[in-house]
Symmetry: C2
């Protein structure tokens, strides 16, 4: 892998910073004046030509300045971006009273973040991710209804009614219960994937359709009550960035924001992984969600110490102010910790 020499790095840095500010392609003359290395525009041009060949920048058309490519942004985020020393500034704009319900807090936080950053924001309610199934119970309620109860190690309880065509006899119910418990206990909710399901159905034999229903129900319950607890704000901020605000793109993006389920995809990956609790930056195609290939997405996981986790996400143009966004998120992580860790703050 070829490194960039110092001068190229400086120039790339200057190009990107300039572009982040203006949103306009930046030309050689601009850099010649803007940067502290005293070089004529012609020299810069030569270097820029190299940088383009290396894939860090590109030209929208023949006689325009250069803009950063995804690779360029990536290089910037990884190597060039200043990491400000974290000094936690209190959230003062909205007085978040600890007596408020968690829902209110999250709504306020996501709104505040959207206002501060001028990007679209989202936040998920803290939940027992990667929590393990402790107990499953199917009970016949009447001729056509079965109640499924799922309990996790965090003692989270989910109920779900299932309609069946015909009553199952006690023995079958017992067998199904045992099967479900032996197969699923100890698995985290995320680990119940297609493979597990296939195996389970196989073992259930003629009752595989019921298993299927049960799992669908469980999955749905989990989805609804947990994954879907997503609050968003500032979706219309995208209109502030011309590169995103033509009808087509804006419509798609806002649709994605409406369909909160899609947003879950943004943060699930990070929530699922045990280690990663830092801040993730997805640039363009790196994003887990197709709709956002023209955007950058920054996500952070916040933790409540007792295994509860939630995620925050910011969606904006590729030329987003990464430094500011990352700062904001870091800050918020600490803030949320403080808020929710207070004894009376946990009420939901």
């Amino acid at each position: 892998m070829h490194e960039l020499d110092e001068r190229k790095t400086k120039i790339l840095n200057a190009i990107i910073r300039n572009y982040l500010e203006t949103g306009e392609p930046v030309g050689s003359r601009t850099i010649s004046k803007y940067s502290d290395l005293n070089l004529s525009s012609a020299t810069i041009r030569n270097e820029m030509s190299d940088l383009e060949e290396l894939g860090y920048i590109l030209q929208p058309h023949t006689s325009a300045g250069r803009i950063p490519s995804d690779l360029g942004y990536r290089f910037y985020v990884d190597n060039l971006m200043k990491q400000k020393d974290q000094e936690v500034t209190e959230i003062k704009e909205f007085m978040i009273e600890r007596t408020e319900k968690m829902e209110q807090v999250l709504k306020q936080v996501v709104k505040l973040l959207a206002n501060n950053t001028n990007y679209a924001t989202m936040i998920t309610a803290p939940s027992y991710h990667r929590n393990k199934v402790k107990f499953i119970q199917l009970s016949q309620i009447d001729e056509t209804q079965i109640l499924a109860v799922v309990v996790t190690e965090g003692n989270m309880v989910k109920n779900k009614m299932i309609s069946v065509k015909e009553r199952l006899d006690n023995e079958t119910m017992l067998k199904l219960n045992i099967l479900l418990n032996t197969s699923l206990n100890g698995l985290s909710l995320e680990e119940i994937n297609l493979g597990t399901i296939a195996r389970l159905k196989e073992q259930a034999g003629i009752h595989s359709d019921i298993i299927s229903d049960v799992l669908d129900a469980v999955a749905a319950a989990v989805q609804e009550d947990e994954g879907l607890q997503i609050y968003t704000s500032g979706a219309t901020n995208i209109f502030k960035y011309p590169e995103l605000s033509d009808s087509q793109k804006a419509s798609e993006l806002i649709s994605a924001f409406e369909e909160k389920q899609q947003l879950a995809g943004l943060v699930n990956r990070q929530l699922a992984s045990q280690e990663e609790t830092g801040i993730q930056v997805y640039i363009g195609d790196e994003s887990p969600v197709e709709t956002m290939k023209d955007c950058s997405v920054v996500t952070a996981v916040y933790e409540l110490g007792d295994g509860m986790q939630g995620a925050i996400g910011i969606i904006g143009p590729k030329r987003m102010d990464y430094e500011n966004v990352v700062d904001n998120l870091k800050n918020l992580k600490v803030q949320l910790d403080n808020i929710f860790k207070k004894p009376d703050g946990k009420e939901g």
Copy 2:
């Protein structure tokens, strides 16, 4: 008030129907051919000139066809629109199982409606509107916190913490409690308006600021827990109508949709009025919400028999397909009645 003669009425009808279909200004020649009255374009022109003078139609620019004015639309909705005989068609697209939670039902309904109509839609959860205040209690919790409890005749209880600068003595608390109860008891939540508030503050004397806080808190509590139970869908449908989809307007509209509180304004008026449970059509400026002056809003109240009410709203361009929308809403009213009146459907 001058009536429109039959011919003018027919022409106006033709203009509007044509415009609803095409979205293009409609000229005299078009009407001459389109309508069944055999008149030359010249005659139509004369009549159109009259209609314009009367305010029912207008010209976007000198040499263009005519489009309906708000007054024209109003006339159409009130007099011209066909009232289809209601035949209730079952909602089949989404199998709404009665075992689902109400929240799920509402989300599905609002989505279905958005898909069917191609407009933006909203629905509020049923709630005890125009319920009367039964009891108010302020209690000093600690040096700086007061707890306000409001109970309504439906036995709905609202709590709200209020921060105060200094502790109030018992006598004052007592007086405030009496004042609040004598002033507000028996009033519906909607009847506590600015007038009431002003009177109340006057009587509270030096503690008027606390009253203010209390009322703010009460209002906020009511708003949040009830009014804010709003589900929306199809916000991006507005991009389907060029007259609404320029950045500026789209952004404002979608913002309004994000701020669900604003949407409450759309239906509150109707929910508050005892009688009106039909279908309301707001055209342009008639809309209770400023942001929607370029749209039409159609709302309907659905009832659950036991005093619970919710509202459905559709927001679209002025040239919306009123007949279809009204039909849809009528249909839905009946459907929701059916769904929620089933014994096990009430779980929320």
